[in-house]
């Protein structure tokens, strides 16, 4: 479980996140949604420690993450996996080397064990026969899958996904969402997904936090989101014409 208490973050005096308090639950796919520029990525990067926060508390189980020293943070980071918006695969390494990288860095397993684990992770995300390809030779969807394989290589307790569907076609996006949900349940991870894709919200949104202009405006799940009385959330949810028509028809 990850708990955020009264988190504040600003850049050059401009507040980006204000007083955010939220609890992300274990074994569930937790979604942070909001418009572009609302502060979702800053919140996610603050949670994983890539941004220093101005004030507030970030708890990983019983550990106050933002007050830990480098060694303490490193211990928790060894339990994290992250899928970045642009996949962030290492350009100079092959698919196999990318997935193997955390194993080389943090385990003392034999070469055979590492290869077995790499192949298992790649198979788990439905990527086969690509071990010796470089990231530049992969499609967007394949890159995301390889990045997920790398993120789960060390059996993480926490999985973070920043816009996992950006740049993907709707079918591939659904497959990636399904994969994230399956892995979350399979490994009982605490998964946090940043998205503004309403398909994702309706597919995997077991817990949803809506951020607008750096402020948490709403919290709930995919069953509650369509009946919310939060005006800014409704503007976001029913932004496209199809959703508007459906809403009108329901009324």
């Amino acid at each position: 479980m990850i708990r955020i208490i009264k988190l504040n973050k600003s850049f050059n005096g401009k507040a980006v996140l204000e007083n955010i308090s939220v609890k992300f639950e274990t074994g569930k796919t937790n979604l942070i949604i909001g418009r572009s520029g609302s502060g979702k990525t800053v919140l996610l990067k603050s949670i994983v420690g890539l941004h220093e926060i101005d004030s507030g508390e970030i708890w990983y189980e019983e550990k106050l993450f933002n007050k830990l020293d480098f060694a303490g943070k490193k211990a928790i980071r060894s339990e994290m996996g992250m899928l970045f918006q642009g996949s962030a695969l290492f350009d100079s390494l092959t698919v196999e080397q990318n997935v193997r990288f955390p194993l080389d860095m943090f385990t003392d397993s034999s070469a055979e064990e590492k290869i077995d684990r790499v192949n298992f992770c790649l198979k788990r995300v439905d990527i086969i026969n690509t071990n010796h390809l470089f990231p530049s030779e992969l499609s967007g969807g394949m890159k995301k899958r390889v990045a997920i394989a790398r993120a789960i290589a060390l059996n993480p307790k926490y999985l973070f996904c920043d816009e996992p569907n950006s740049g993907l076609d709707p079918i591939t996006a659904i497959l990636i969402d399904a994969l994230i949900k399956e892995l979350t349940e399979e490994y009982s991870m605490t998964t946090i997904v940043n998205t503004h894709d309403m398909n994702s919200v309706m597919e995997i949104g077991e817990k949803i936090v809506f951020i607008s202009d750096g402020i948490k405006c709403w919290e709930g799940n995919k069953n509650e989101i369509l009946n919310s009385d939060c005006a800014s959330l409704n503007d976001f949810v029913f932004a496209n014409s199809l959703a508007k028509k459906l809403r009108t028809a329901n009324k």
Binding site: K45, K73, G81, G86, L89, F90, D104, M105, F106
Partner: protein
């Protein structure tokens, strides 16, 4: 007081205060950058997570940054040695001036200045821009963030192997530059007919001071550190996109070159005085 005169004073006061503010802002920016540079070095020299991985990375960088630079250093050294010989020959046509001194001039120019300083400036362009753009691209594509999330000390993992590789290999490049440069001088001198081969070979052996080689190698090591650390610093703190990576790459070359020239003066004063 006359209104126009009063306005003139006010305007000047505002201008001076703006100038002062700008000056302090620049000073603070410079000090901040200076501090960040040393903090980055502290991160770079912290204990590696897995020394075996760093060893493999260092071997890789020896090939990319070292072996791959031999060609350009050899070509430029050859022609530089040839030009130094021809220019010395054409400027010392007086019969009183012994011909073998042309060889001596070529040798000392190559050892004292070209092989270390000029070669370092060339490497600042080739290796420095390579380092800054590689690390900068990794920054803007979140690859450095990915390393940090895994718990890897990204600064050490990315920069230390490059630094060790250049510190180890650049002295070899200097030796190659000296040998190839003198060979270029010999070719140009003998084939153009400005001097005989015997004169040139006698000249390069005449009044040889072995310490000059040591002086050149010491400078090379300092310059290698400047090139890698300054370029890596520029790349590591890139903020933005591909345009900023290009700018960082340019800055890396410019700042490295200026620092090389500055340290050339300082080291020469310390080592040769």
């Amino acid at each position: 007081m006359h209104t126009g005169f009063k306005n003139l004073i006010i305007e000047n006061t505002i201008n001076i205060s703006n100038f002062e503010v700008l000056k302090y802002k620049r000073m603070i920016k410079f000090l901040t950058q200076f501090g960040r540079y040393f903090l980055l070095l502290k991160k770079v020299f912290s204990k590696p997570e897995k020394p075996v991985i760093y060893y493999k990375q260092t071997l890789r960088e020896l090939v990319y940054l070292g072996l791959n630079s031999i060609g350009i250093i050899a070509i430029i050294s050859f022609f530089m040695g040839a030009v130094i010989t021809l220019q010395t020959a054409y400027n010392t046509e007086n019969p009183i001036y012994p011909k073998y001194l042309i060889g001596l001039g070529c040798r000392d120019s190559m050892i004292l200045e070209f092989s270390s300083t000029i070669a370092a400036l060339i490497l600042a362009g080739k290796v420095g821009s390579n380092i800054a753009s590689e690390i900068g691209t990794m920054r803007v594509t979140e690859q450095i963030d990915a390393l940090e999330i895994m718990g890897v000390n990204s600064a050490s993992y990315l920069i230390l192997p490059k630094m060790i590789a250049t510190l180890l290999f650049n002295p070899f490049l200097t030796i190659i530059a000296i040998i190839v440069g003198i060979f270029g001088g010999w070719i140009a001198g003998t084939f153009s007919g400005v001097m005989t081969s015997e004169n040139f070979i006698y000249g390069i052996q005449y009044a040889f001071i072995p310490y000059y080689i040591v002086y050149s190698l010491i400078k090379t090591v300092f310059f290698a550190f400047i090139i890698t650390s300054v370029s890596a610093f520029q790349g590591y703190y890139v903020d933005g996109g591909s345009l900023e990576v290009g700018r960082a790459s340019t800055k890396a070359v410019v700042y490295s070159s200026v620092l090389i020239l500055l340290f050339n003066v300082i080291l020469t004063q310390i080592l040769l005085s």
